[in-house]
């Protein structure tokens, strides 16, 4: 197994605090997903790819960006694997991998508009900076 991939996996498991081995591939997450038709890979597959360390595929998955974080998959998962957390963690991993400071605190004032909730700015920091 590729050591870098194992590090990626450890990072994602730290972010999700969930064990992908608990997934029994019942497909309830994918059955619940309202963005199913937009996605190239579906929630249960994302969880499986993290478990199998398939980061070469995860690097190119586009379905991640169609996930709306509605949390239906996490809500209905019978084994509390919480696929939505994996979606989000893999997204963060992808963004961080691009390297560099994508959002610097000094840039915040110019990006703010009145309609942006403060929560979104806080979330942008979490996503852009480790």
């Amino acid at each position: 197994m590729n050591d870098t991939y194992l590090e990626y996996q450890a990072e994602i498991l730290r972010m999700t605090d969930r064990d992908p081995k608990r997934c029994m591939i019942c497909g309830k997450c994918t059955a619940s997903c309202p963005a199913f038709s937009e996605m190239d890979f579906h929630p249960h597959q994302i969880v499986g790819m993290v478990e199998r360390c398939e980061f070469d595929v995860l690097e190119t998955v586009e379905g991640l960006w169609h996930c709306m974080s509605c949390m239906a998959c996490s809500e209905r998962c019978p084994r509390d694997v919480q696929p939505a957390r994996f979606m989000d963690a893999v997204r963060q991993w992808r963004i961080r991998k691009q390297g560099g400071e994508h959002l610097h605190p000094q840039q915040v004032p110019e990006k703010i508009d009145e309609a942006t909730p403060q929560q979104a700015i806080a979330a942008a920091f979490r996503k852009y900076r480790k």
């Binding site: 608990r22 029994m24 591939i25 019942c26 497909g27 309830k28 997450c29 994918t30 059955a31 619940s32 997903c33 199913f36 038709s37 579906h42 249960h44 239906a72 209905r76 998962c77 019978p78 084994r79 509390d80």
Partner: protein
């Protein structure tokens, strides 16, 4: 002078791989009092036992220590070995160097040291052991079966056929249980009622079987061989001895809006009712929650129409106390409540039903007379979706059960097949995670549903069900095709997980029988004693021990009966001689022990004692009934003056063990 023999077992590699058995034997051989210490590959084998026997005779041993597996495994074996050589069987001690040592340690040096310490403690204890003689207690030749479903009925019939009396206590107004509500049974598709009701009648007519329906166990005292059980016979407001079961009252009762429990509330019945046509006993009962007469004192229609004067509005619950030699728990199961599964729309649409409800909707005696009609508008459903594992195999989701309910795969295949057989124009879809069919002719049965009957099996779960314009929009996943099918269904059937009947929990407390975290009764050994509870004299039958189908339930019911027959065929059972004994000189009569005794074995007596100044004084002291005491030791802990001691496990012996360990 003590002459102790120490025997260290290798248990193949189970012990010897982690513990240096030769070193253990050598070190323990130097302990004071030990005259022989040796090791052997399998102490429990015939030659191993012969070796122990010969050593006792030749070396004139006064005590034996065996370092081997847990005493739960082979203490009984080795006690017999010791007894054969003429030594009192209670002059044996077992040091558990397998489960509590070799199996849990990896480091050989540490494990060897621990085995030596455990052996040393056993030697210290056996030095203080006294010969004990087991007493006997009589066996009441009658069995109690709690629960009158197929498990309870089969157990009762098998015990009764062996010539022993059996009482069946059933909380409902009739025996029959869940099986009476089923339509057909897999994998042969014979009608459940056709094979069950003859057994119900057999039970009712058997001269050795006494059915106490509409009754509940309220208290259990005593112990194996002579349990004393209090049974509450709930008031049915109908004299069981007079009612002929003609059913006239159930037609004339003006209170028509009572949800019918036999049909799971899918239709209504009257406030006075006979549960179903083949009920046993076929006697009416009044539901006091709905009866106008019982609630307001005005009505009395049933008593007017009853030709034999069986109605008695003043009937009260009665309590009966009976004695039994053995008790069988057969309390069964029920489907879980689905109210937390909002995504499946159960409760939002009457056309989302559980599998048990579907049984009633397909049954000739059910609310639709056997024609499959959907509950909302009584039309034929053309598209039916089955959802498997609803609440089964759910770990930590706070809604379901972690285990597989075992019966759902097969009954769903049965339902799908029956529907396609009777209504070929119906499309049937089954969403499943795995199809589990380990049973004789089971997988063939499931394949028939797919291959002969064209049932669509889809690998994947259902995410949500939305009732819309008289249809149920089912959105699921098809994992093999990589699709998200959306089906507009007329009827959805949910395979709800099954759970133990809630009455089992309180019963387990009464019986001091243990349960697992899911409230299934625990067996004494999961493989070798599957129908016995760890509590002596309490046996397990049917789904109260774990999810089971009918063939398995009947097999286990027969097995439980065989164990009961084995117990009841003895006139006496040997008691455990390791019972509590009070030192009357030290007892101050405080009653602490009496309060903690779970078996009611301790009473108090006023006794005369000679005092130091030669006067006599009357003092209240504890007395233990050795036939009732189970040797749990609670009293020895509770006694503030240290007057209570357990034979075979005296405080002095335990302290000697502790000292030896800490040496």
């Amino acid at each position: 002078m003590q002459r102790i023999g120490v025997f260290v077992c290798h248990c193949g590699t189970n012990i010897a791989a982690t513990v240096d058995v030769a070193q253990v034997a050598e070190t323990l051989g130097k302990e004071p009092g030990v005259v022989l210490a040796t090791d052997y590959p399998y102490m429990c084998s015939q030659s191993g036992q012969d070796m122990i026997e010969n050593a006792i005779r030749e070396q004139k041993l006064t005590g034996v220590v065996i370092c081997s597996c847990s005493p739960r495994m082979h203490e009984a074996t080795f006690r017999k070995t010791v007894a054969r050589a003429g030594l009192n069987p209670y002059l044996l001690e077992i040091a558990n160097v397998r489960e509590q040592c070799s199996w849990v340690h990896k480091d050989r040096e540490e494990a060897t040291q621990k085995a030596i310490i455990l052996g040393r403690a056993a030697i210290a204890k056996v030095t203080l052991n006294a010969p004990l003689v087991a007493g006997e207690s009589p066996v009441v030749k009658r069995a109690l079966v709690i629960g009158g479903g197929i498990a309870g009925i089969q157990t009762a019939l098998d015990i009764a056929d062996a010539g022993f009396e059996v009482d069946i206590v059933e909380k409902e107004a009739t025996i029959g249980g869940k099986m009476a509500q089923l339509d057909k049974t897999f994998p042969t598709l014979d009608c459940a009622a056709c094979i069950l009701t003859p057994k119900m009648v057999d039970a009712a007519q058997h001269e050795k079987i006494n059915i106490l329906s509409y009754s509940e166990v309220e208290a259990v005292g005593g112990f194996v061989g002579s349990f004393r059980v209090k049974i509450r016979r709930k008031a049915r407001y109908v004299d069981e001895t007079k009612c002929t079961g003609c059913g006239l009252c159930t037609e004339k009762c003006p209170q028509k809006a009572v949800p019918n429990p036999f049909n799971l509330g899918l239709d209504t019945r009257r406030a006075i009712a006979i549960p179903f046509a083949q009920a046993v006993p076929k006697v009416a009962y009044i539901d006091p929650n709905y009866c106008t007469m019982l609630k307001t004192g005005k009505c009395g229609v049933c008593s007017k129409v009853c030709t034999v004067g069986a109605i008695d509005y003043k009937q009260q619950d009665t309590l009966e106390e009976r004695e039994y030699g053995a008790i069988v728990a057969a309390t069964g199961y029920r489907p879980i409540s689905l109210e937390k599964y909002g995504e499946y729309a159960y409760g939002q649409s009457p056309d989302v039903v559980t599998s048990l409800e579907l049984e009633r909707l397909m049954n000739a005696a059910g609310p639709t007379g056997g024609t499959l009609l959907r509950p909302s508008d009584r039309t034929h459903p053309k598209t039916i979706v089955f959802v498997q594992c609803v609440g089964s195999r759910c770990e930590e989701d706070g809604r379901g059960k972690p285990y597989c309910s075992k019966i759902c795969c097969m009954y769903t295949a049965k339902h799908a097949m029956l529907i396609r057989e009777k209504y070929p124009d119906t499309e049937v879809y089954v969403f499943y995670i795995d199809v589990r069919t380990p049973g004789k002719n089971f997988d063939e049965f499931y394949r028939r549903a797919v291959e002969e009957y064209g049932v669509h099996y889809i690998t994947g779960q259902v995410g949500k069900i939305v009732p819309e314009n008289g249809k149920l929009l089912v959105q699921g996943s098809d994992l093999l095709a990589g699709m998200q099918p959306k089906i507009a269904a007329d009827l959805v059937v949910l395979a709800a997980a099954i759970e133990p009947d809630p009455s089992a929990r309180s019963l387990a407390t009464l019986l001091t029988a243990s349960m697992d975290t899911n409230d299934f009764f625990t067996e004494a050994h999961p493989k070798l004693r599957p129908v016995e509870s760890p509590t002596a004299g309490v046996f397990l039958s049917g789904a109260c021990q774990g999810p089971k189908d009918i063939p398995e339930t009947v097999a286990q019911a027969g097995a439980a009966a065989a164990k009961v027959i084995g117990l009841l065929s003895r006139d006496h059972i040997v008691c455990n001689p390791c019972v509590a004994t009070p030192n009357e000189q030290m007892c101050n009569g405080c009653s602490s022990c009496e309060k903690v005794c779970p078996y009611g074995a301790i009473t108090y007596a006023d006794k005369e004692f000679r005092m130091p100044d030669r006067t006599t004084a009357l003092r209240r002291v504890a007395q233990v009934n050795p036939a009732v005491c189970q040797g749990c030791g609670a009293c020895t802990v509770a006694c503030p003056s240290g007057a209570m001691d357990l034979l075979g496990f005296s405080n002095k012996q335990i302290m000697a063990e502790v000292d030896a360990i800490c040496r």
